[in-house]
Every structure is written in C-alpha cells, then in structure tokens.
C-alpha cells in the first residue's frame, strides 16, 4: 500500500531568549552598534523535534502520544503546514485537513449559521459542500433553534459542538487531529469518538494526538511515542501505550522522590518533592490493597508564601483514562496559608475501591481559582494489590473492571 505521509529527518528548532523576541529598537541598536556580532551570535535555541522520520500508509490511523512538551504539537503543526521544519522533508499524498482546535476562526459577532460557513471555509470546504451538508452539521451540533443567534451568546458546550460538527463533515484524505476529544461532555465525546471511528473505517489516514490512551487504543492501529523531540517507539498502539505508561510509572510505590520528575508544569512556587503511601496503621507502605484505607502523603516545598492553594490529584488507569479527580477545596478544606519551606499534606481515602492493577496518580497544586499552576502533572504510580475484600475466599480481579462498590447480597426471596 502506498504512503499518505512520508517524513524524513524532520527537525524543528525554536529560538528562545532575547533574540527571538527582540523589539525593533533592540534590533536596530544591535545592527548599528555591533553588526558583526548581530550576524554571528546564535541565540539559545531548543530542538522541539529532532530527526523524526516515519511513513504513514494510506488508511492507517496513527496515535501520537508523549508527554507535554515532547514535540507532538510541533509535529502536528508541521504535518498541517502551519509551521515549517528547520530541516527535513515531508511528502504528502492527498488533501490534508487539520483539526488542531475546534471552531477555529469562529467570530463572536456572527451567528451560528454564518460561523458554519466561515469555519467550513477556513477548514477548506467549498461553499457548495457546506450547503450540501448544512442540515447534517446543524443536526449533529444540536443547535437548530440557535442558528440565527450570535455565537457570543452560545455556551461553551454549544460552541464546541458546532465546531466539531463542521469538522466532522470534512472529507479529507488525511486528517490531523489534536486532543479534540479531550473536551465536552461525555455524551458529546461519545459522538466524536463514533465519528472518528467512522473515519477509520472510511479508509482515511488519520494522525491523532491525545492524552486519552483509551481513545488512542480504541481508534488507532499504530502508535508513535514522541519523547524529547524524537521517536522513542513506533509500533502497534497497544504495545506503545503499555511501554509509555510504564516509563512514567517508575517502580517504587513507597516514598517516590518527585523532586526531579520530568514534564511537570507550573511556575514552581510550590513543588512536590516526595510522595508516600501510608497503610491503615499510618506507617509507610509500598502496597496499596483493594478495599483498604489509603493515605497519600504529599511532601512539598514552597518557595514563597501562598494563600489558599488548591492541592489535587488525578487518578488514571494504566491506559490513561481518568478515573477521578479531587482536590481539597472540593471537600471544603480551605488551607488559608502555605509558608515558605517544606511540609506535607495527607489525603485520606477511606476505602480504595479499585480493582487490582497499576494506576497512575498525577498531582497538581494551583491557586484558589486554578488560574496559576504552581506544580502540575507530577506523576507517580499506584500499584493496587488484590485483597480479600469480602472475606469470601475469592479475590477481585483486574478483568472485572476498574472499580468496585461495596455491596451486600441477600438470599433469594421466593415469589412463586
């Protein structure tokens, strides 16, 4: 089968620091006072991508995974021709539509109807194609009665649905999608996933970036793991996802050192330094067991005084599906002040209702409103061991799902 996309040795360098963002005045001063230096000095730069090569066959659905900042988005931008690689070649066969954001170019002052045409045309559809698919788009988005309302009066959910509806009616040979499914309510996500599956069986080539490993696994036959701007692994999606998840999991459940966790976000006002599990007796442990209480102790260092922080965690399955998220403010626990220095905070889970498997915990801390991230996406592993929850002699198993509920069974009541 012939290739749809062939890239060879693609690299992308971004200049960072003063030179790239120099103002006109600085440029003029530099050129007039020291022209030889202006020519010679090379600004500090980072390689967002380094010598990336792969071919994508026609009809292949490829999931591109990797941590934040690994270069996935840069790769998508190059594939969709938004930016040019610093070096390397790219050959593409067919029409490319890129969907790096839903509703690109929506204008608040225009109505839904007007925005469908505008957005469609920005995405590369012809007017007659939009005309032909207009009713289907409106139906998919479910905004029929608001068609002639300005988009500024739309809820964010409606905007999103409208944006995806237009995009779902594109018919490219090659579709480049970034994280579009990470947004919206569950029902809508399902709809989007269905549409994506449709694409897959429609024989289109799809390149799909996502943090939703379950979606990648379901949709993609092949996975490409980008790490530090390079292809770290390329193969069947299942295998790549497994390796990817394991790489972040680390292997020590108890007292994981987080001080040099990579890929973390935030400005560092507060940094998680260590992460410990405490067993039912309050002492550090390395095993978490199904159905037992679990304390998580988050050690952190604050570099300045922070008022009313919001500490939180997310729990993911081994395939990256978010199971739950929680944070202190959600529980009404207000921490008025965090003083500079080191400290720890305990999170007590009464009963760990997870089936035995390996999970990922991602920690974050932000300001009260969540606008400023102090530290985020700090990952550690949670290994849950089977335990005899019901004292029945039978152990719960991973194949029974993700979670369990405490329950009781009564004896049959004879009714006839």
């Amino acid at each position: 089968m012939s290739y749809s996309v062939a890239i060879e040795g693609i690299s992308k360098r971004y200049r960072i620091g003063s030179r790239a963002n120099a103002t006109l005045r600085e440029r003029i001063v530099q050129w007039t006072t020291a022209p030889h230096r202006a020519l010679k000095t090379t600004a500090p730069s980072i390689w967002a991508l380094r010598d990336v090569s792969f071919d994508v066959l026609q009809g292949e659905v490829v999931g591109i995974i990797g941590r934040n900042g690994a270069g996935k988005s840069t790769l998508l931008k190059i594939l969709s021709r938004i930016t040019n690689p610093t070096s390397g070649n790219m050959r593409v066969r067919g029409r490319v539509a890129s969907l790096l954001e839903v509703g690109v170019g929506f204008h608040n002052e225009l109505t839904g109807r007007e925005n469908i045409y505008l957005n469609g045309s920005i995405l590369g559809m012809r007017k007659r194609d939009v005309d032909r698919r207009f009713d289907a788009i409106v139906e998919f988005a479910g905004v029929a009665q608001f068609l002639d309302t300005q988009v500024k009066h739309y809820s964010s959910g409606m905007r999103l649905r409208l944006g995806f509806a237009v995009a779902a009616h594109l018919e490219p040979d090659i579709l480049v999608v970034d994280e579009v499914l990470a947004v919206g309510d569950a029902g809508f996500q399902k709809k989007c996933l269905d549409a994506m599956e449709g694409l897959q069986s429609g024989g289109r080539t799809v390149l799909f970036v996502s943090h939703n490993m379950a979606a990648v696994e379901n949709l993609c036959s092949r996975g490409i793991w980008i790490d530090s701007g390079q292809v770290r692994m390329d193969g069947p999606a299942k295998n790549v996802i497994r390796s990817y998840m394991e790489a972040f999991a680390g292997d020590d459940g108890a007292g994981t050192d987080l001080s040099d966790a990579d890929g973390r976000l935030g400005d560092g006002s507060i940094r998680f330094t260590r992460f410990e599990y405490l067993g039912p007796d309050g002492s550090p442990c390395s095993l978490a067991r199904c159905g037992e209480p679990l304390w998580m102790r988050l050690h952190y260092r604050a570099s300045r005084e922070v008022s009313c922080p919001s500490f939180g965690f997310r729990l993911f399955t081994g395939l990256g599906t978010l199971i739950t998220e929680s944070y202190n403010l959600l529980h009404g626990t207000v921490i008025p002040k965090v003083k500079p220095g080191t400290a720890y905070i305990d999170v007590r889970i009464d009963s760990l209702n997870l089936l035995p498997a390996r999970y990922t915990v991602s920690l974050w801390v932000t300001d009260e409103g969540g606008a400023n991230v102090y530290d985020g996406d700090v990952r550690t592993v949670l290994e849950v061991e089977p335990a005899s929850i019901y004292a029945s002699g039978r152990l719960p198993e991973a194949r029974q799902g993700i979670a369990f509920f405490t329950q009781s069974w009564a004896q049959p009541v004879v009714t006839g």
Partner: protein, 294 residues
C-alpha cells in the same frame, strides 16, 4: 441529509458524490513553480478570501448603531471640517473646484488608503488564532481586508459624484477613471499594509508606527492642498509619494478645467507596481515563520 455523520463517514468510500475536490488542494500544490503555484493556490482558496472579507464587513457594521452609514458620515464630516479650516480660514486654493468637491474627492481615496493600511497591518496579528491553527495562504488575510474596505470606497465614490452634481459639476467621461483608479489604489494600500503586517508579526512596534506614519503621510499627499501649490522644484519629491499621482487624478477627473497629470500618475503606477512586487516577495519570504512568532 439525515443520516448521522458517523454513518455517513462510514459509507463515504462508497459514495461517488462525496466530491474529491471538497477540500482545498494538497499542500504540495505550491511546489510546481513558485509564482504559478502561488496563484493557483490563491485561486483555489478564493472562497476563503471572500468569506474573510465578508466577515470583516459584517463584523465592522454589525455592532455599530448607525451601521454602514458611517461610511457616509466620516468623509462628509471631515469634508465640512476641512472646508472651514483649510478653505475658509487658511484660504488654501482649490484649483478652481467647489471646495466641498475638492476636499471630498481627495478624502475618499485617502480614507480608503489610511484605513486599509492600518487594518492590513494588523490583519495577521489580529488573526493569530487562525494562523496558529490552520494552514491557508497567509496573503489571503491582507487581501480580504483590502477587498472588504472597497465597500466603503465605493460608497464614498458615489457620495463624491452626487456632491459634484449638486455643486454644479457636469458629469463627464473622465469620471470613469474612478473605478479604474480603485485598482492601483487597492494595490498600493495592500502593498504598504502587507509589508507592515509581516513586520508587525515580529516587531510589535509597528502598531505604534502606523498611526504616526499615516498622519505624516496625509500632509505629504495633496489632499488638503492642491499639487499645484507645491513649488516646481519639489514636484518630483511629491511624485515619489505614489499616492500623490493617484489622488491628483482622482480629483482632477472631476475638474474639467485642469489638464490631468498623466506623468504624475505614470510615476505613481510604476512605484505602485514596484512596491507590489517587493511586498509579495517580502511577505511570502516571511510567511514561513508567521506561526512561530505571532
């Protein structure tokens, strides 16, 4: 179409009516010959240019209470002010034209030029969200702005004609120069704006430079004064401003008493063409990096 998109996508391969040209041409379209490729690509994206211009026009007047009336009010009021200030108080000559026709006929092309240069210079920065998310020939954004602004220009031109008739100027064939001269005026404004737009992506200083430069440009162009007021030895200097020749001819096409400055117009056209070629070259060279800087 009533079937769900997923079902529709599922069956897409079996439907020949799903047109192969539903989307713009493949990205490598530009490989075959730079200029030819550029024009072929622009042609295939013509609908987007239209939609962008349509969006600009629609948005510009949608929120304004008086809407499109502003295209009438602005030149008319400025003309009244100019007539009083420069005609009555400063007593500047009008080449024997009725003062209102004299100022209005200079102002309408000038207002197009100044607003187009300003808007075009901002067109990339203000569409940063689109630039960083999707590919299309970047030149469409400035072009759409310059094209969209023509609506105001045409309305202005009609006002000029009506005012001329009211002031007793007899319509003549030379009035047909107006629609013709709109083309070089558009090209000139677009060229200047495009260069500024490309610079603006990297150097945000441009947004402060533009209003200031436009203000100076107004005085360097025979709008509040006739070119005939400029001493002979400085005429060449005036001619170097490509807008001078255009405005002189715009104005004098309404004035049967004056010989048209064809030489001045020829200079303007030559400079405009040169600027246009330079602007396209500069723009296409810089556009590769727009998404990285904007």
């Amino acid at each position: 179409m009533t079937d769900s998109p997923s079902a529709r996508l599922l069956t897409a391969t079996r439907r020949p009516d799903v047109s192969a040209n539903a989307l713009a041409p493949p990205p490598h379209a530009r490989d075959n010959g730079k200029i030819v490729g550029l024009f072929r690509e622009l042609f295939s994206y013509r609908e987007l240019a239209f939609f962008l211009a349509w969006r600009d026009i629609k948005v510009r007047y949608k929120q304004a209470v008086l809407g499109i009336l502003w295209a009438v009010i602005q030149p008319l009021f400025t003309t009244v002010v100019f007539t009083i200030l420069f005609g009555k108080l400063a007593n500047l000559p009008n080449d024997g034209m009725p003062p209102s026709v004299f100022y209005l006929s200079g102002l309408v092309p000038w207002l197009y030029f100044s607003s187009t240069v300003t808007n075009v210079s901002m067109s990339l920065v203000s569409n940063a969200d689109i630039l960083t998310k999707i590919y299309f020939p970047r030149i469409l954004l400035p072009t759409a702005v310059a094209g969209g602004n023509l609506v105001d220009f045409v309305i202005g031109a009609v006002i000029v004609m009506v005012t001329a008739v009211i002031c007793g100027v007899h319509p003549s064939f030379s009035w047909l120069l107006w629609p013709l001269l709109m083309v070089p005026t558009l090209v000139l404004s677009l060229s200047v704006g495009m260069i500024l737009a490309a610079l603006n992506v990297k150097y945000r200083d441009i947004r402060y430079v533009v209003p200031f430069a436009i203000q100076l440009w107004l005085f360097a162009t025979p709008i509040i004064y006739p070119a005939s007021l400029v001493p002979e030895q400085y005429r060449l200097l005036l001619g170097l401003n490509p807008l001078s020749g255009l405005i002189e001819v715009f104005r004098h096409s309404l004035n049967p008493n004056v010989v048209l400055h064809w030489d001045l117009l020829a200079t303007s056209l030559a400079i405009t063409i040169g600027l246009f070629i330079g602007a396209i070259a500069f723009f296409t060279r810089s556009e590769r990096a727009f998404a990285d800087y904007v």
